[in-house]
């Protein structure tokens, strides 16, 4: 059963001096949803997350978690959130258990349930058996897990994860991805990542930021479909004539001739059958047709300016 809290950002703006890091961003993350936050470096992802968790204050706009307004009750908002920062730095001189105990005390977990909560967070983050190890001696991947464990120790309704798999090896990445997928079934998760495959696997919806502005908030499948398709037609006969014929087909945006191959890109209306018919009716033979569907990567590259 989903018990996450709804997260809502309305018209949130944040400036650093004369630079606007986040401008008029509005988005909602529903309970039990993993929302992916995408964008190039400097797009405003981390600033948006930092405002949500109360590390930064928005210059304007409203942030609400569940029924709690961050401007009215910032502590109440922070109580509901588990946060893994982009650079997860715990205290190197502390052991994993000491650090998680410290976090549990700061989060005012009752003493009788504290040990159970720490054990559960360690197990979830894959830290079993590491309790007595000093954090400073752990690898980067394990330090990231410690950061994840502190975000989970109070069993929060909302998780804000800023690049949770950064610095992890492929096996650890898969483990963390599985964990986020499992947590996302019952919690609200806002996840930023540069790995589009990760976002595709974990998220039904994504928000894309570019230059501080929200340029898309859409289901991954819809966004990918909107990015259009790409088809390669290997023809026998005149490739330029085939290209001329397909240029007039509905949905075609560009046509390129590469030897005997005609490369066609277009939007969601683009249909292989229409292209094949156009080529054949132009008197050119069609030997092979290969289609590539729209991808999140294609959509992302279209949305984000170089």
């Amino acid at each position: 059963m989903s018990r996450g809290a709804e997260v809502e950002l309305t018209g949130v703006t944040r400036r650093f001096g004369t630079r606007t890091a986040v401008e008029d961003v509005s988005l909602t993350v529903h309970p039990g949803e993993v929302l992916g936050l995408l964008g190039p470096n400097g797009a405003g992802k981390t600033t948006t997350m930092r405002m949500l968790v109360g590390f930064l204050r928005p210059d304007s706009g409203q942030i609400r978690v569940g029924a709690v307004d961050a401007a009215v009750d910032p502590v109440g908002v922070r109580r509901q959130i588990g946060y893994l920062p982009e650079v997860s730095s715990a205290y190197p001189e502390m052991t994993v258990l000491d650090f998680l105990g410290y976090c549990a005390r700061l989060r005012r977990l009752p003493r009788p349930t504290r040990d159970v909560a720490i054990g559960r967070a360690m197990a979830d983050a894959g830290l079993a058996g590491q309790g007595r190890v000093r954090i400073g001696t752990l690898s980067r991947g394990y330090r990231q897990r410690v950061g994840l464990a502190q975000a989970l120790v109070h069993d929060p309704d909302v998780l804000v994860l800023d690049e949770p798999t950064a610095g992890l090896d492929p096996r650890q990445r898969v483990e963390v991805r599985d964990l986020v997928a499992r947590l996302g079934r019952t919690r609200t998760v806002l996840l930023s990542s540069h790995l589009l495959s990760e976002v595709t696997d974990l998220c039904r919806r994504v928000a894309v930021l570019d230059n501080g502005r929200l340029v898309a908030l859409e289901e991954v499948a819809v966004l990918a479909a909107r990015a259009g398709s790409r088809l390669e037609l290997r023809v026998s006969g005149s490739a330029p004539r085939a290209a001329q014929a397909v240029a007039g087909v509905a949905g075609v945006e560009s046509v390129e001739v590469r030897g005997q191959v005609v490369v066609v890109t277009g939007d969601a209306r683009l249909a292989g059958a229409d292209l094949a018919a156009a080529v054949v009716s132009a008197g050119v033979g069609l030997e092979e047709m290969r289609a590539e569907g729209g991808s999140l990567e294609a959509a992302y590259l279209r949305l984000v300016k170089p």
């Binding site: 590390f55 502590v75 922070r78 730095s89 715990a90 001189e93 502390m94 700061l106």
Partner: protein
């Protein structure tokens, strides 16, 4: 939080080094003071206030500047704590670490008591003064530490402010008029004399408590401004 910070300071090479330096200086000051062949410690306590100010500056950098440098501040400030609780925890942590250093210096008056018969009153009030000054200096140091992520800037900034306040009082002795009054009032130097003589003046106690409150408010303002 305060307990963690105290442990973090005293279990680090940095904290032990600063503490050892402080205690060594306290020992040297004691030797210099006892050259007068009198079992009195006001000549020891007086410069010790300045050394406590320097130690407060060095310890307080761990409160915010060090946390910001290492990145742990982001986790700490997103815990469900009010800003007041955060500031209080940090000041208590730095003050607590200072109190441990001060507690070790009790060896010095005890040694003097073994060879002479010092008046316990000024020693007692001297320590009351050091404790009050320690909390006030720690509070100012924490405020400066909250303003920067640089260890060096925090340490040198706190030291500069505390030493300027102290020597402003020394300077005031050669001045007259309103400037003299203001400098003397603002300086801790003018407010330790009573403690050294064995008296507890309300004005001096209020001064150090006020300085501590100013530090608390300044830290809160700085933290809010930096959000």
């Amino acid at each position: 939080m305060a307990r963690r910070d105290i442990r973090s300071i005293w279990l680090s090479a940095y904290g032990v080094g600063c503490g050892a330096g402080f205690l060594a200086l306290a020992g040297v000051l004691l030797v210099l003071d006892l050259r007068s062949d009198q079992a009195r410690l006001d000549g020891w306590f007086s410069p010790l206030f300045v050394v406590v100010a320097l130690l407060a500056a060095l310890f307080s950098v761990r409160s915010f500047a060090e946390e910001e440098r290492t990145g742990s501040l982001e986790i700490l400030t997103t815990m469900p704590l009010g800003r007041g609780q955060l500031v209080a925890g940090k000041i208590l942590g730095t003050s607590g670490a200072l109190m441990i250093a001060l507690a070790i210096t009790v060896v010095c008056p005890l040694m003097v008591a073994l060879v002479g018969n010092p008046d316990p009153g000024p020693i007692l009030t001297g320590y009351v003064g050091l404790v009050l000054a320690g909390v006030a200096f720690a509070s100012v140091g924490v405020a400066v530490s909250a303003a920067t992520g640089s260890f060096l800037v925090a340490a040198s900034g706190s030291s500069a402010i505390l030493l300027a306040l102290w020597f402003g009082g020394v300077l005031a002795r050669g001045l007259s008029g309103r400037l003299q009054t203001v400098l003397a009032y603002l300086s801790p130097y003018s407010h330790v004399t009573g403690f050294l003589r064995g008296t507890l003046a309300v004005a001096d106690v209020v001064y150090f408590l006020s300085l501590a409150v100013v530090g608390v408010l300044a830290t809160r303002l700085v933290l809010e401004a930096r959000r």
